[in-house]
Every structure is written in C-alpha cells, then in structure tokens.
Amino acid sequence: MSVRHQVTDNVLTAYAAGNLPEAFNLVVASHVSLCDEARVRLEAMEAVGGAVLDDLDGEEMSYGSFEATMRLISERPKEAIKTEAVRKTCAVLPAPLMDYVGGDVASINWRPLGMGTKQAILKSSGEANVRLLFIPAGAEMPDHGHHGTEMTLVLQGAFIDGDDRFARGDIEIANEELEHTPIADIGEDCICLTATNAPLKFNGLLPRIAQPFLRI
C-alpha cells in the first residue's frame, strides 16, 4: 500500500491524546486503518502518552478503592469471556467507518447532490460534521463551503487538487483560506470521507492544528 499523503503529526498527537472532535477522529481512525506507516506513528505517539502517564504525580485513591474495583470486576464477569466475533470486511470502507455506516458500501444511504454527485451525512458529535461523498470520475467536487478545517480521506478512486493527486488512503487537510477545486480522477468514481468544523461552531483548536500543514 502506498499512501503518499499522511496525516500531520499535530493531528495525530491530538488523536492519540483523545482531543479531537468525533468527526475528525473518524477520519484519522479510517486513515490509520489504511496506512501502516500512520499506524506506526500513532502507536509511537501513544508510547509518549504512556511515558508521560507513568511520570505523573498520582492523585490519592479513595479509601477502599481497590476493593470497589474488584467488586466491579465480579459484577461484570461476562466481559472477560466475551470473544470478538469475526468482523465483516469491505474493500472500500475500513472497519471504523463500517460501524458508522452500519454495513458495507452497499449500505450507504446516499442523497443526490446533482450531476451524479451524492453525499451521506454520518452521525457524530456537534463540534464537527462528517460525510461520505461520491463524485463521478472526472467531475468536480461540490462546493461545500467549509468553515475552519476540512479533512478529506480518499476511499475509492482518486482526486486531483492542483499539482497533487490523492488516492485511496491519502488524506488532505485544508482550511477556509485554501481556495481549491478538487476534481475526481478520470479512471474511477471517487468516494471520500470528509470532516469539517460545523459552521458557526468555530473551534479554535483545529485551525491551529492545520496551520503548520498550510505553511508548506
């Protein structure tokens, strides 16, 4: 697998720390599922999290805390035995996305946007929104007027943005200052996962995350 455009360190750190809105978490989790190198970087970042946790001055636990935890364990014995069912796989959607769609690519609830373009909005927390986009081969991406940060992951086909080509597993991070008109590559219909900050709910964190990327 040759993913050429990886997620930035800043976004990956925020994901490892658990500080991103759910919509962006979904994009990063899907990207990491498709890109082993990003997974390596994520796990290394989590190793830093572990080292910092280990270095913290602890807070005293309540009296009887250990015993309360043992009671918690004995009250939920089933969790220990529960074995994971073998998951279904999909050639287009990685596992975290299948959870949100509720199945494979055939289960996506597409709504037409005109000219063959379709979208399916996925449910996530209010801070940001996330949708799947279907763009016919050779067509322009719809103008979705994003505010703040936009993160796009290619799942099928490819799109061209300026001099860059983004294929399956590639991620593009942009903000509203970036004027761009991505076009689906001619070879195949393009399916993307796109997360944006919800309009009017401006989150100061994400634009700052994207800044180093945009300076390049």
């Binding site: 360190d9 800043n10 750190t13 925020a14 490892a16 720390a17 658990g18 500080n19 759910e22 979904l26 989790a29 899907s30 990491v32 599922s33 082993d36 190198e37 997974r39 390596v40 970087r41 994520l42 796990e43 290394a44 989590e46 190793a47 830093v48 999290g49 572990g50 080292a51 910092v52 946790l53 280990d54 270095d55 913290l56 001055d57 602890g58 807070e59 636990m61 309540s62 805390s65 250990f66 309360a68 935890t69 043992m70 918690l72 364990i73 939920r76 969790e79 220990a80 994971e84 998951r87 990685p94 975290p96 959870d99 996530s124 927390s125 964190l205 700052r208 995350i209 800044q211 180093p212």
Partner: protein, 216 residues
C-alpha cells in the same frame, strides 16, 4: 551474546517474557543470543499483566493498581474530571485492564502505554461523551504470537523513552504534558522533541509486518 554466567536478572527477565512465546525451548535459547543485557526493569509490569491474564493473580493486580490507579486518576483530573468522576472512571479503567488482560500485546506497547490508551478512551467516553472510532484491529484472524526478542527490544525502548521524558527540560516536558492532558494547542508541540522515537517506530513497524504476514 550470551554471557558465560548469566546474571540473575537476566534469567528473571527470560522468565518474564517467555510465557508470551509459544516457540520451543531450543528456539528460545537461540533467541536470547540476540539480546545482550536484559533486566527486569526493562519490561516493567509485563509479567504482572501476564499473571493477571493466566492466573487471575490478585496480588499482581493490586501492585499494578497501586502504581497506576493514582496516575490514571491524576490524568483524568487534569483532563477536567471532578475528583469523584475521576475516581469512578479510574476504577473502571482498572477493571477493564483486568478483563482485557488477554488483549495486551507486549510486542507493540508497554503496559503504561496500554493503560494510557484505556484511560484516554474512558476520558472520551465519560468526559467528552463521544464515541471513539478506533483504527481497524489487526489482531483478528490467525493469532500471532509475539516474538520474544522483539518484545524485549520494544519494552527496553519504552523504558528509554520514559527516562528521556523524565529528563526533558521543564518547559519541553510541560508542552508534551499539555498535549496529552489538556485540551490545548498542539501546534506548539514540535515534531522534534529529542525523544528517542525512531527505534520504537521501527520495532512497531516490524511487529505490524509480522502480523500482516501471519494474517495472509
């Protein structure tokens, strides 16, 4: 190289790691030659998790609890939880550790890192009240047995990373802590922190490659 008279801690460490490998005794003896000096401190807590998994060992669990529960509680409080909520969540995190001890993979993470990820997910769930999309799990399919030498090197590298975090200048360490324990700007976290992440990345990469190979 094997020293002629193995140090006691060397033998102790072998006993710690050996249960994770199903390879025969001969193969194990061969593998140890890859590792020059092994000490128990290079794989802290790995044996505890193993004893919890195989023997439901409450003594091991209590020791692990005494070390990590106060740190997890401090992590949650610094992430914005009240003392009561942090106490409750910490008990749940420690119960999860007990229940999911079979999922710990010492070839890819230290125990501190594993606990950090459990605590982080609890934080998202309880504090942010969001779902946490996780990357596609690579461990389903044929179960891959960790390579003993790889386990040792990764655990040693994690110990080195911990030491490096402890010895960082205050200002730099504060930045990293803020990235993980509060909701602040991540663009300030320079990619180059001087932390020895290179070797950890290459060990994780090896482990993933093995996993991919075993899954075929």
């Amino acid at each position: 190289m094997l020293t002629e008279t193995p140090q006691a801690e060397e033998l102790g460490a072998k006993a710690i790691i050996a249960p994770y490998s199903k390879v025969g005794e001969d193969a194990q003896a061969g593998r140890t030659s890859d590792v020059e000096v092994i000490s128990i401190s290079d794989a802290p807590w790995v044996d505890h998790v193993y004893r919890i998994h195989t023997e439901r060992d409450q003594t091991a669990f209590r020791e692990l609890f005494n070390h990590f529960a106060p740190r997890v509680k401090a992590f949650l409080m610094r992430s914005g939880a009240s003392e009561a909520l942090a106490e409750e969540c910490t008990q749940e995190v420690m119960a999860t550790l007990w229940n999911k001890s079979h999922l710990f993979n010492p070839e890819r993470a230290s125990v501190a890192t594993w606990i950090f990820t459990i605590a982080r997910n609890r934080k998202i769930d309880a504090l942010r009240k969001q779902r946490r999309p996780e990357p596609e799990d690579l461990t389903w399919g044929p179960e891959a047995e960790p390579d003993q030498a790889d386990v040792m090197v990764l655990q040693q590298e994690c110990s080195r990373l911990s030491a490096a975090v402890k010895s960082l200048p205050d200002k730099q360490r504060e930045l990293i802590e803020r990235a993980f324990f509060s909701d602040l700007s991540h663009s300030e976290i320079a990619a180059q922190t001087g932390l020895p992440l290179g070797t950890i990345k290459s060990r994780i990469r090896l482990a993933l490659e093995r996993l991919r190979r075993d899954m075929k």
